[in-house]
Amino acid sequence: MKIGVISFAHMHAFSYTKALLEIEGVELTGIADPVEERGRKYAEHFGTVYYQDYRELLKQGLNGVIVTSENVHHKEHVLAAAKAGVHVLCEKPLSTNIQDAQAMIDACKANGVLLQTAFPVRYNTTVVRAKQMIDEGKLGRILAMKGTNRGRNPGGWFVDPELSGGGAVIDHTVHVADIMRWITGTEVKDVYAEVDHLISENPIDDSGILTMEFDNGVFATLDCSWSRNKEFPTWGDVTLEIIGSEGTLSIDATSQKLHVYTDESGYRHHAWGDGMDASLVRDFVSSISSGAAEASVTGEDGLRALAIALAAYQSSEGHRTVAMAEL
């Protein structure tokens, strides 16, 4: 199976590519990147061919491609892959607006290729176990949820809205919003949010608290802020507190860790749990090889999560609750 990677703009490209190499029967056909220095560096590192132009890479008879370009370029890259008949794994957020996301979904459908949104948290072993407990009915009926997905300000193109489409809210809402949809099996009905630029030097949203109400009356909040500073012992967190009629469930997806104190780098967490990126990539590859009709996490899932983030921006601007139906 021939897989390529379009752009190393997003740092996840590194772990995804590394994961590809570990899968038997997968050939890393090439890396395309408009930034030659970056593209050559990683092509060399992974022992593959560098392409300046992603169109050249798409001509190499690929079965699948991983799109890890800047958010605004996802559409162009996914549409080209679809046209070339290549299955796509696209980094989150799927896009920066609903129209583009829909166009990407439609193009992949029309060309009969899979479109998978890269939501690695779905493959986190802790989260998977939690979902299993919920499905077994241990919590009874889910009543409310409280989530966090906080991190450091990633800098670079992430803080340039022309390339990212937004800051912390578009970057960090989608992971946990997707998990909330997944475990409740319902859709968000409306969103309220307080969003602002309060922390970093760059004039971009870095602070956000969303409140969501789901179709079945479950309510939830989500802190998506880039509020972790450089001395915080790790990059951030993914947590979810679930209140059920029969009990509560506290999920801390990154708490499989060592506390390490060194004179050189102070206090740091070192994770020892299962990596989620490798499972994500393996799942994409197996969907291709099994000829699955749909990816296990679809473009539609990516769009729904994106829409929640976009509703949050709209809500915060208007100081009002925004119904998803308005979008």
Binding site: K146, Y192, E194, D196, T211, T221, S225, N229, I243
Partner: protein
């Protein structure tokens, strides 16, 4: 020596009575509770006298001998007893929330002022050393400019006298009863609140559970998230302040200096874990001692009745937001009087 009469021998009455019993400069002269047995047990422990009612206590002790009346009654009774205390010219300490409604709270403050008695409200979180320390780090610029704040508290569903906690009209649920601590503390730290948005379980789920998630937007720009729970096992509280230059993080469930566990018995009775955070002087002691010293020298308290009123308004705004599904603005037109 300030002579204090405590009304109510429930959870809070016990905490207050224990504090007075060991406080130099204060004397616990009586405890009144309509459940005489309850009053007697506590009075015996604290070496004071028990009464079956406020009226009995006052007529037996005589108004001359009482300096302070401390109201530790269920919230909807606060108003009547504060008024009665003011009527006999006594300074009042009243447990939080000051009242169940804004009108009652305003009435109580004005009434005490008219009668020339002082009114103190038990917003004890301002006397918890960990919260005091966090504020002092914040005030010294330790985390730069504050940005996103998270606070939370709660545990199991409280069982009070006559199940008054589960009567929403009486207690106001988790939001009015417990989260008001955080609302007051956050307002102390970050100033006035502009908008409140909230969701809660009240009205959605019939069982004895309450859970609420509240977002506060301060005029300063700070965004705060407050969680209140009567849906968990075991009390805990937490606070995180993230700013431009640092983070302060506290979770009583994670930092427990003492944890006693009983061994499970023949696999039938599970063991229980009882955490404790011992202090030479409890936060309740610190609070009441502070109020005593304010009464003695006429100084302003760290938390005023107006502060309690503002905290109540935030809690009521949260309840209103739960009902309307929209953010509720805290009306800025009323003059804001702060204690600090």
């Amino acid at each position: 020596m300030l002579q204090v009469l405590v009304i109510g021998a429930g959870t809070m009455g016990r905490a207050h009575a224990a504090a007075y019993a060991s406080m130099p400069g204060a004397q616990l002269i009586g405890i009144a509770d309509i459940r005489m047995e309850q009053a007697q047990q506590l009075a015996e422990k604290c070496g004071t006298r028990a009464y079956p009612s406020f009226e009995d206590a006052v007529s037996d002790l005589g108004t001359e001998r009482i300096n302070v009346i401390d109201v530790c009654l269920p919230t909807p009774l606060h108003k009547n007893y504060v008024v009665m205390a003011a009527d006999i010219g006594k300074h009042v300490i009243c447990e939080k929330p000051l009242a169940r409604s804004e009108e009652d709270a305003r009435f109580m403050i004005d009434y005490c002022q008219e009668k020339g008695v002082r009114l103190f409200v038990g917003h004890v979180l301002r006397f918890f050393p960990e919260y005091v320390k966090a504020k002092s780090i914040l005030d010294q610029g330790g985390i730069g400019k504050p940005a996103v704040i998270r606070a939370g508290r709660g545990g199991g569903y409280p069982i009070g006298w006559n199940h008054w906690y589960s009567d929403f009209g009486a207690s106001g649920g988790i939001t009015l009863d417990a989260m008001i601590h955080d609302f007051d503390y956050l307002r102390w730290c970050f100033g006035e609140v502009e908008r409140v948005y909230a969701k809660g379980l009240h009205g959605r789920h019939q069982a004895q559970l309450d859970y609420a998630l509240v977002t506060l937007r301060f005029r300063s720009g700070v965004i705060a998230h407050v969680e209140g729970t009567w849906a968990h096992e075991g009390f805990s509280m937490n606070l995180e302040m993230a700013g431009t230059k640092g983070i302060i993080d506290y979770d009583s469930a994670k930092d427990s200096p003492i944890l006693f566990k009983t061994r499970s018995n023949a696999a039938t009775i599970p063991g229980v874990a009882v955490p404790e955070s011992p202090l030479a002087r409890s936060p309740y002691y610190r609070e009441l001692e502070h109020f005593m010293s304010c009464i003695r020298d006429g100084s302003e308290p760290l938390v005023s009745a107006e502060d309690a009123y503002e905290a109540l308004r935030i809690a009521l705004a949260a309840l209103a937001s739960m009902d309307s599904g929209e953010p509720v603005l805290i009306d800025n037109t009323t003059p804001v009087i702060t204690s600090t």
